[in-house]
Amino acid sequence: MNAILDGFRDFFQAIREINQKYKTPRIKTTRMITISLLMLRIYLIAMLILLLYTFISTVVRQIIP
């Protein structure tokens, strides 16, 4: 049990170290990059909402025919 907990602890420690290492983006943030990343965020959020909507509506349709 302890070995499993240690394994998880090491894993999360590694993730913390990676987050620390890449905390600051190395690329110079130009206007083009800011706009591109913003549009990408909006696109991904919209697609995620559509995926969830389809999933939930499919499940609801199966439960309440």
């Binding site: 990676i18 983006p25 559509l50």
Partner: protein, 422 residues
Amino acid sequence: MNAVSRLYYANRRVVKFLRLLAMIAGPGILVMVADNDAGGITTYTATGAKYGYALIWFLVLLGPIAYFVQEMTVRLGAVTKRGHAEAIFDAFGSFWGWFSIFDLTLTDWLTLVSEFIGMTAALGIFGIPHWITTVIVILLMAIMVIQGRYWTWEKIALAFCIINLIYIPAAFLVHPNWSEVIRVGWLPHFPGGLNGTLFFFLMANVGTTIAPWMVFFQQSAVVDKNLKEKDIPWSQLDTGIGAFFTVVVAIFCIVVTAAVLKGVNIQSAAEAAVGLMPYSRYAGTFMAIGLFDAGFLGAICISLSSSWAVGEVFGWAHSLNNKVREAPWFYAVYFVMLLSAGIVVLIPGAPLVTITLFVQVAATTLLPAALVFLILLLNNEELMGKQKNNRFQNAVNFTIVIGLILLSTGYSLTTLFPNWLH
């Protein structure tokens, strides 16, 4: 001087060129041929059965598109000496880095399941039980990676690429009307007008030509092969040859089904292979062998693209030149992906159709992210130096990326809401 020496002396430049190409070629041909994976073959057979030869011109157009996207990964890998995942972490920070890793691992695993579906269905035609196919595939893939040399792995994988050409003799066996193939296939047109069904087929073909795993795989392979900036022209040639073969295979695959099964509603390539059997036993057999090989090639590349990416980010040893004991986590990720995907196919009543559908949605939805990062990185002078995209490359690549984003979004929407275009 004997005849052989004289021949060598007369053609020494050609021999030197071919020798260099044989040394450097690999990642480009592999990624492009593996692009015609089980899902890809299913799309081509369905396209041939539905529209005959009419969409061959569209596949010809997809060749250069695939080349221009993949060529960017060559330059990025050779210049930065980093895989795509690590490059995203470094350039855009940990949020986008984790997003990319999650995106890649999810789509890779789902695609890997679809490769196993294709492989088990292909060998199932010959009466081989699914579990035996799964065990054989896992063993073969284990033998390929644990020998501890990238070069050997690559050459074995390239041998499997040659089997992918089996659709060429299969096409000759079904005796298509070649003048019709040229007359109908090479003239750009939309059969029956640009309606919802045709749009869905066009987008499905685009979706099989460019996938997020390809971007990650080729960049990591370029790094693992230790290709340098001076090797970029050779790697570009390697990618160009691969793009040529991927289109050739796709065209011949369409010719096979268009000649025999036009008008038949094909749901999978295995179904097409069975449908071909009464007409030509050899053509049907070749189709089944080709499907198995396509799934196998896809599986060997996809499973590696994830383990390379995770290894890069976690800082583990992550080269095929490492033995298992030198890079245990790299191989652990590889085998966990492989085994879990193989097991899913063996679960009785597993929702394989839903998984196949979800693979298409996930891959095409997440493709824009991979392409946006790629084009931003290739425009960074500090990172790329003189290998930065020039005006021509930017004009071509921006057009391709915007086009692909629109088409892949349309494809996702069509899959999620099948009636929106009807």
